[in-house]
């Protein structure tokens, strides 16, 4: 089993090295396009084998070697494959495999084809470290590793120039990449503090040791740790107020958005909370957990509201990701960890599918993002239309699709906990979700072909790419059917969350309510954007000039606020500090030096070169000494 763990972990790494070292400078290589997906596939197969092993025999724990050892600190490279991590491994490797194959088609014409695969495989490797590590420091390696890969991949088209904010809210790929990295770093500081707190109070960073020691810690300390770690999770999972980077991250190539900014990396924060469930389910930190749930709910609603009016096809999907992350946090915060994890997996499948479909559209439309310029694409892109449709249905949570089971369970949980405000918000958000996802589908695939006058020539993606996307489509439909089996599997590790009898009885009612909202959302979207008649396709000037529309369009002015109240003051302060450094700190030093120098310069005039003057000075000195001697004699 050990070797399987290593194969699962290192196959992507080998792929990254293969593409990075041997092909970095050569033109597009088919070999890379074949070998890299194959290696990720190997990793997936190893994960499957591990999953079966774990299901049968329980967790696998291996320790590879020591990493940092100093004083009382000892951090090994250790890997833990248990129910939680193997779920993540399966999700990560499966989506990665599909995305790798997909990238073959999507990045077909890119001159940095090989470099792309090197980065992408490196990302998978980092993500595997993140989920497989058996200690917090190892998790932090992966945590930062995915951050860097995300930085590299968002900024993949680094040669694009900066645009003003009004023209492109993400400014440029390199700008967006830096924003993502720095914002994640802010959260990472919180996470580091959490790690320090744990180390100095537990003496170890190994999960099992930490979990064993948790009951002995003081309440305040537990709250501190919980808050610090959650700050870390907020950064990676783009929770408010650290969320702005996620929409800007859409500057990266679409496969990257599908893999990193929808299916895997952004869920790392949720994973952390689930991983630390022994901590977050403690009585002492219930306040923090409730805050997590509340924040998640808020973000779910907040992001969905922005998605309602967004015109950029990728931004819509990114915002829906953000919204779904909010759902996951809501579930995790309410204690339903396994439901959060289940939704995480389901979401990974349908959201990756949605993104890849959006990628097909972009590919067909020469990287055009504005859905107002699309329309009627279903005639030319039937395959992508079906996939996008499936993914959107799953996202909207219509019955028997994956999202129906997982999202419904979260909403049910909120009801069961008696947190009705969260429940209502989540139900409303579900309706909004259905609306904006179908708005997007209708906009791009139905209606008249607005792209025709603009001179586009759309064509569907390569056949093999469409075939490769099939597993995601199948899972987007069917993943929910395995819910009970998965529950039996995962609750060996995570607390089993049971609904009360009361909730159980009216579960069908709750489910029907959610579906009702979703259907209403879809119906409105259909009426407005796909139907025939006067209402459809009309851009409503009055609405677009309204305050709320402006508010949503400008993302609640949060990026403006950051720019105005954080970035600009920071720049000004830096310049001021530099000025002070020159004028005050260095100036003081120079003044001292100058004083000494000037003293020498002034006394230089004594040095006339005239012996007579010297003798006069000597005489004066001698007299002075005599006088001093006389005075001291008189006094003494």
């Amino acid at each position: 089993m050990e070797s399987l763990v290593y194969i699962a972990l290192f196959a992507p790494f080998v792929g990254s090295l293969f593409a990075g070292l041997f092909f970095a400078r050569s033109p597009k290589s088919i070999l890379v396009g074949v070998v890299n997906p194959a290696l990720i596939g190997v990793s997936f197969l190893a994960s499957v084998a591990l999953a079966m092993h774990v299901a049968e025999f329980g967790a696998v724990h291996v320790t590879m070697m020591d990493w940092i050892s100093m004083g009382g600190l000892n951090i090994p490279f250790g890997f833990l494959v248990d129910e939680v991590s193997v779920t993540m491994m399966l999700v990560v490797t499966l989506v990665s495999t599909v995305v790798h194959i997909y990238s073959n088609g999507y990045m077909d014409h890119d001159k940095s084809f090989n470099r792309f695969f090197a980065y992408l495989s490196a990302f998978v490797f980092s993500m595997m470290i993140l989920v497989m590590s058996d200690n917090l420091a190892g998790l932090f390696i992966g945590w930062e590793g995915v951050g860097v890969c995300s930085w590299l991949l968002i900024g993949f088209w680094y040669h694009k120039e900066d645009k003003p904010f009004e023209e492109n809210p993400s400014i440029s790929p390199s700008w967006a990449a830096n924003e993502a990295f720095i914002m994640n770093r802010i959260a990472d500081l919180g996470m580091l503090v959490g790690i320090f707190l744990i180390y100095w109070n537990v003496g170890s960073l190994q999960y099992n040791v930490v979990f064993d020691a948790l009951p002995n810690l003081a309440d305040g300390l537990l709250v501190g740790i919980a808050i610090a770690l959650f700050i870390g999770a907020m950064g990676k999972s783009a929770q408010f107020p650290l969320h702005t980077w996620l929409t800007d991250a859409m500057e990266g190539p679409t496969p990257v958005s599908a893999l990193i900014h929808a299916a895997t990396m952004v869920t790392a924060g949720v994973f952390l909370v689930i991983r630390m469930s022994p901590l977050y389910s403690m009585e002492a930190v219930s306040g923090v957990s409730m805050f997590i749930a509340a924040l998640g709910t808020f973000v779910a609603f907040y992001a969905a509201s922005m998605a309602l009016i967004a015109r950029d096809i990728k931004r819509i999907v990114a915002l829906s990701t953000l919204s779904q992350l909010g759902y996951m946090f809501a579930a995790a915060g309410l204690g339903a960890y396994w439901i959060a994890l289940f939704h995480l997996a389901a979401h990974a499948f349908f959201k990756a599918l949605l993104f890849l479909g959006a990628g097909n559209v972009m590919h067909a439309m020469d990287d055009e993002l504005d859905i107002f310029k699309m329309g009627g694409l279903r005639k030319v892109m039937m395959g992508s239309y079906i996939y996008m449709g499936i993914a959107s249905i799953a996202l909207a949570g219509l019955p028997f699709f994956a999202g129906f089971y997982s999202k419904d369970a979260i909403i049910e949980t909120a009801f069961n906990e008696g947190t009705y405000l969260i429940w209502i918000m989540l139900v409303i958000t579900a309706g909004m979700t259905a609306f904006y996802s179908f708005r997007q589908v209708f906009f791009s695939f139905h209606g008249e072909e607005r792209w025709k006058p603009l001179g586009f020539n759309p064509h569907d993606m390569y056949k093999y790419v469409l075939v490769a996307m099939a597993p995601l489509a199948i899972l987007a439909i069917s993943f929910g059917w395995f819910m009970d089996g998965y529950k039996a599997f995962i609750t060996k590790n995570l607390p089993a969350y049971e609904m009360s009898d009361h909730t159980h009885h009216i579960a069908w009612l709750l489910g029907a309510l959610v579906v009702l909202f979703a259907v209403i959302g879809i119906w409105i979207a259909y009426r407005k954007y796909a139907g025939k008649g006067a209402m459809a396709w009309q851009r409503d000037e009055k609405v677009e000039n309204s305050f709320i529309y402006k508010l949503l369009e400008n993302q609640y002015y949060v990026p403006h606020a950051y720019d105005r109240f954080i970035v600009q003051p920071y720049i000004v302060a830096s310049d001021k500090f530099w000025e002070w450094d020159n004028k005050i700190v260095d100036g003081t030093v120079d003044t001292i030096a100058k004083t000494i120098y000037d003293a020498g310069d002034k006394s230089r005039t004594m040095q006339t070169g005239n012996l007579s003057t010297y003798l006069n000075w000597m005489g004066a000195g001698a007299l002075l000494l005599i006088v001093a001697a006389a005075i001291s004699a008189v006094i003494g």
């Binding site: 230089r604 004594m606 006339t608 070169g609 005239n610 012996l611 007579s612 003798l615 005489g619």
Partner: protein, 100 residues
């Protein structure tokens, strides 16, 4: 009766004359004369005090001073001649070339 104090006053007067000469004179040769006067003033004081205490070492010191002064004059005058040949003058204002 001429006592030791008279000698010391004379010595002091001579020393002061020499000292003022050293400070005021601009000609190197005159400076030499002035230092000689000072030295001799000290010699008088040595001799007088030596006599007063009945101790011969004072007078011996005077002889040493005379010997040293003589050799100093020999060397010094030689240097003066060289300087004079070089600058054509012994005026300190003229040969001041170490101005800082």
């Amino acid at each position: 009766m001429i006592g030791v104090s008279h000698y010391l006053i004379l010595s002091g007067l001579l020393f002061s004359i020499g000292f003022v000469g050293v400070l005021r004179r601009k000609n190197l040769l005159m400076l030499f004369f002035a230092t000689e006067i000072m030295l001799n003033a000290v010699n008088i004081a040595f001799a007088a005090i030596g006599n007063y205490y009945g101790d011969l070492s004072g007078q011996m010191f005077a002889f040493f001073v005379i010997a040293v002064a003589a050799s100093e004059v020999a060397v010094g005058l030689g240097l003066l001649i060289v300087l004079y040949k070089k600058y054509g003058s012994l005026d300190l204002e003229v040969i001041a070339n170490m101005k800082g």
